[in-house]
């Protein structure tokens, strides 16, 4: 009798366990029977090269690697969906809502363009599902628009401004002229850079908004102004992104400002920007980056595998997409469920160290990923030893100093 009962129990146990799909370790409880990750980014517009299709590829790669490492990890198949938000906030937000509602997506990740990122953060809060903002730079995501389900993963405007401004002023570049594109990102960058320059003991002589949208793609007015500024200008702080930046840099060289001793400091510079400008056009430019593919052996090893898949070198956004996915899956594994609230509890305050994020911690109060940032300098063309190797890291900014200090954060974690 007892033997029968034991057999029955064993049978039930087997049935029960195998009831979970691919129950290698059989511990993760899935709220909708399946894990779904959704990448929403710009695949056809101005930010398509820095994230785009290859950002989606990075997320897929993370899922595969994760399952390889943990033998399925009890997650079953993990679907990776993707959508092109075409830089339209309404498209991005309704796609996010649809992914959460209809496809039961557990996580939305990437999302460049601040306005789209903020819109999706609100969707995530409403649907009680997770959102990892990697591509968007605005600090609003971890301040006025922060919420329990949104994590800002990789970089933000504060990190960029703080790192670059302090380093440049320390090197003696104290007299600044800031030109910023006249939209939210640019305005934010201007404010943060001005504060950081002043804090470091420099002086912003003037800051000007450049037109948005910018049909003529011309910055000559500001470049001429830069030459006439008194006292002698030392640093031209360019806060433009994408095509605007390429234009501005091209024209900075054309007007011979470099020869005049006006140095360029760039707020946000992606690997793909350098590639398109060529290192010759911006050699010696100092900027802050969240990660660089050739910064050390560990980063390089990952970048080589990425290159094997995509034939390009990754930007830090793509690396962040991979890493965010990985850390999310780790948190799910630790929580033993994909239940959003339990995963959030696992993520908050979590400390780790990996190829992307060094000395990393996910700050509980505002959900910012704190990690080491890097001050980088664009190499001279002669020093470029292999394709895409455009940058050398000159300084590591410790995680504790790289991001907005808690005293300045105004995040209420409103539900």
């Amino acid at each position: 009798m007892i033997r029968w009962a034991a057999l029955l129990c064993a049978a039930l146990l087997v049935l029960g366990v195998s009831g979970y799909p691919a129950a290698g370790q059989g511990t993760v409880r899935l709220t909708h029977g399946k894990m779904v990750l959704a990448v929403i980014n710009d695949q056809s517009g101005v930010y398509a090269d820095l994230g785009g299709k290859n950002g989606v590829e990075a997320v897929k790669m993370a899922v595969e690697d994760f399952q390889k490492k943990y033998g399925g990890a009890g997650l079953g198949t993990v679907d990776v969906l993707s959508a092109d938000h075409q830089n339209k906030p309404d498209v991005g937000a309704s796609k996010a809502a649809e992914f959460y509602d209809r496809d039961n997506a557990d996580l939305v990740i990437d999302v460049p363009t601040s306005s789209v990122g903020i819109a999706i953060a609100h969707v995530a809060a409403q649907k009680h599902r997770l959102f990892f903002a990697v591509g968007a730079a605005t600090t609003a995501l971890s301040n006025e628009d922060c919420n329990k389900y949104t994590f800002h993963y990789g970089y933000d405007v504060y990190m960029l401004a703080n790192g670059t401004a302090i380093a440049v002023v320390k090197q003696g570049g104290t007299q600044w002229y800031i030109v910023y594109p006249n939209y939210a990102f640019g305005q934010d960058m201007n404010a943060k850079f001005s504060a950081a320059v002043a804090h470091a003991g420099g002086k912003v002589l003037l800051s000007d908004p450049t037109p948005f949208p910018n049909p003529t793609e011309d910055f000559s007015t500001f470049l001429i102004k830069a030459r006439t500024l008194r006292p002698r200008l030392q640093i031209l702080g360019a806060m433009q992104a994408g095509q605007d930046l390429v234009n501005l840099v091209k024209q900075y060289n054309e007007f011979g400002l470099r020869q005049q001793g006006v140095k360029l400091a760039i707020g946000l510079l992606f690997l793909t920007d350098i590639h398109s400008l060529t290192p010759a056009a911006i050699q010696g430019t100092v900027f802050t980056t969240a990660w660089y593919w050739n910064m050390d052996k560990q980063a390089r090893e990952w970048a080589d595998r990425f290159n094997a898949r995509t034939k390009v070198r990754p930007t830090f956004v793509q690396a962040g997409d991979y890493d965010g996915t990985w850390q999310y899956l780790e948190a799910v594994r630790r929580a033993g469920t994909d239940d959003a609230d339990k995963v959030v509890a696992q993520l908050e305050g979590y400390r780790f160290n990996d190829f992307f994020a060094r000395h990393a911690q996910i700050r509980k109060q505002d959900h910012v990923l704190l990690h080491d940032a890097y001050l980088a300098e664009v190499k001279a063309p002669a020093d470029v030893k292999e394709p895409w190797d455009y940058v050398k890291i000159v300084q590591t900014i410790p995680a504790a100093q790289a991001f907005q200090p808690l005293s300045q954060v105004h995040c209420t974690m409103a539900p």
């Binding site: 101005v46 037109p211 003529t216 000559s220 102004k225 091209k250 024209q251 054309e254 007007f255 793909t272």
Partner: protein, 289 residues
């Protein structure tokens, strides 16, 4: 004061691009009654043409300045013969929308091939560096752009006002029926005029390549401003489009000194005022409105 003078002069260089582009639009509109929305896309093709000629065949900037516009003209000619001409009997709206569709197509094909970030293109070695004239200083290349585009505008004016071909164009613009009756094959001229108009866009593209990012979306925002300039100048008016192009360029540059945020909207304010006060545009004839 010095600053203003420098900026005025500098604005003229932007104006040169406006002038070349709106000149092409005006010629096309005058003859074909087509509002060519893909003008910006063809400008982009001109720039990519120079890049491709340079990287694949080693063609210099100077030859690209000739070959690329001709190639763009060929593209324009082909599109006119196969697509645009089907819609001449209809309202202008239809060709506007057709060319809008073509714009989306051309831009996206280029993006799929070259990526969104664009490609580098250096200024020709002869024109690198900065010229200092008295209190003014300018990149040599920009001065060249200014002089060259002025010459092209003058040449176009001469072509249309002083040559036999120009006479036929003017006549068939003004009264195609009568011109036909006089034994001129008007229809033969239509694709040629269109090709000429888009060649000007291609030329502007080549000129832009060394100073602006060569990327698939480089003409996307430009087109609306260019429309505004053509309207301010008086639609179909050559002199109007050229003068307005230069004036708007200069005014925007000066506005950018005092209140940068407004530089963009300035052209639309001017357009609204001009249309309300002088409906035919600054240089258009009164009957037009």
């Amino acid at each position: 004061m010095e600053t203003i003078l420098i900026q005025l002069f500098n604005g003229l260089i932007n104006g040169a691009f406006y002038a070349l582009l709106s000149l092409g639009l005006a010629v096309i509109f005058g003859m074909l009654r087509v509002v060519n929305f893909m003008h910006g896309a063809l400008y982009m093709l001109g720039a990519f043409g120079a890049f491709l000629l340079g990287t694949t065949l080693g063609v210099s900037f100077w030859w690209a300045l000739v070959i690329s516009p001709v190639a763009v003209a060929a593209v324009g000619y082909g599109l006119e013969r196969t697509l645009l001409r089907r819609l001449y009997d209809l309202d202008v709206l239809y060709n506007l929308l057709l060319t809008f569709g073509l714009t989306l197509l051309i831009q996206d094909v280029m993006r799929l091939r070259f990526g969104i970030q664009g490609v580098p293109y250096p200024a020709p070695p002869q024109l690198q560096g900065v010229v200092v004239v008295g209190f003014m200083f300018f990149p040599t290349y920009r001065l060249f752009v200014l002089v060259f585009s002025l010459a092209v505008c003058l040449g176009t004016w001469w072509l249309i006002e002083r040559t036999r071909a120009g006479m036929i164009i003017r006549a068939s613009t003004e009264n195609p029926m009568l011109t036909r009756a006089l034994g001129v094959d008007v229809d033969r001229w239509i694709p040629l005029v269109f090709a000429f108009g888009v060649a000007l866009a291609g030329l502007a593209g080549v000129l832009a390549a060394p100073m602006r990012a060569v990327s698939p979306l480089m003409g996307a925002d430009l087109i609306i401003t260019t429309f505004a300039i053509v309207v301010i100048g008086g639609m179909g008016s050559i002199l109007g489009s050229v003068v307005t192009g230069f004036v708007v360029g200069a005014l925007s540059a000066v506005a950018a000194v005092y209140y940068p945020a407004a530089a963009n909207v300035l052209v639309f304010v001017i357009m609204a005022v001009v249309l309300l006060v002088r409906p035919a545009g600054l240089f258009g004839t009164a009957e037009a409105a």
